[in-house]
Symmetry: C2
Subunit: 135 residues, 2 copies
Amino acid sequence: MVLDILKKNQLSVTEGRKKILELFINSNGALAHADIEKSTGEIFDRVTVYRTLQTFVEKGIIHLIPTTDNSILYALCSDNCEAGHHHDNHVHFVCTVCNKTICLDEVTVPQVQLPKGFKPNHMQMLVSGICGDCK
Amino acid sequence: MVLDILKKNQLSVTEGRKKILELFINSNGALAHADIEKSTGEIFDRVTVYRTLQTFVEKGIIHLIPTTDNSILYALCSDNCEAGHHHDNHVHFVCTVCNKTICLDEVTVPQVQLPKGFKPNHMQMLVSGICGDCK
DNA sequence: AGTATATTTGCAATGATGTTGCAAGTTTTA
DNA sequence: TAAAACTTGCAACATCATTGCAAATATACT
């Protein structure tokens, strides 16, 4: 599973990448850099985590998620993402109870009527509230 | 104008607050901390700018805007914001040409159909593209 | 208006977050 | 299995943001 993903993206298979990718797969929500550092303990250097995340984003394995508090979150991309070309036009949900951020892959961002002269190109939507697990 | 806003919000009238509030009123887009520091030159300490912005957010004079690159932007609230209770359910637009971020106060965030069990509370939408001035 | 009280500011120190260059270590290729 | 390519850790550095405290400024009171 983890190996497949790394190989499919032509990445060297290293302990760090395997471990971090596993974290994403075993988590149903999004992860912050700090979460990853906490989970991997003292195994990897901060820099390695940064670089691994950056590599994964570039390859289209994970994507950045916007947050209300301007922290950076990452989550696994669904299959239709390619290197350098993300298709994360789905809604993101932040639960105010469990504090998790979830990709709602099934829910696409709705169209919106902009004022004259405005040409939309990309749009993202962030919803906060209570998630399915907490209610 | 500037005085009215400060007084209405029970804030001491100081040079810093007047100057920074003027900046927002004279700008049609959103401002980053860095923009403000640049515009106010060497007049105020960085810390003062931070604290002023924080105060304004708390009072409901300005609100935070989500960005794609996870920087922090602020913009004037429309009149229906109160202290500790923002109503910025409008769409934000980032122009990829002039790089400005604009509040589209007239455009409200559309409803969206969430999966079962999800209870939405607040939603925000960020659209990027080309703005009315650039096209 | 002048003084007391409350608030705000600037400075210095500190912390959190993220980046870069380079040598040492690991993985891949053939 | 050795050479080439890539990845990692370390140290240094840059940026951004926060806090405590004393000095300065604004407001309230008589």
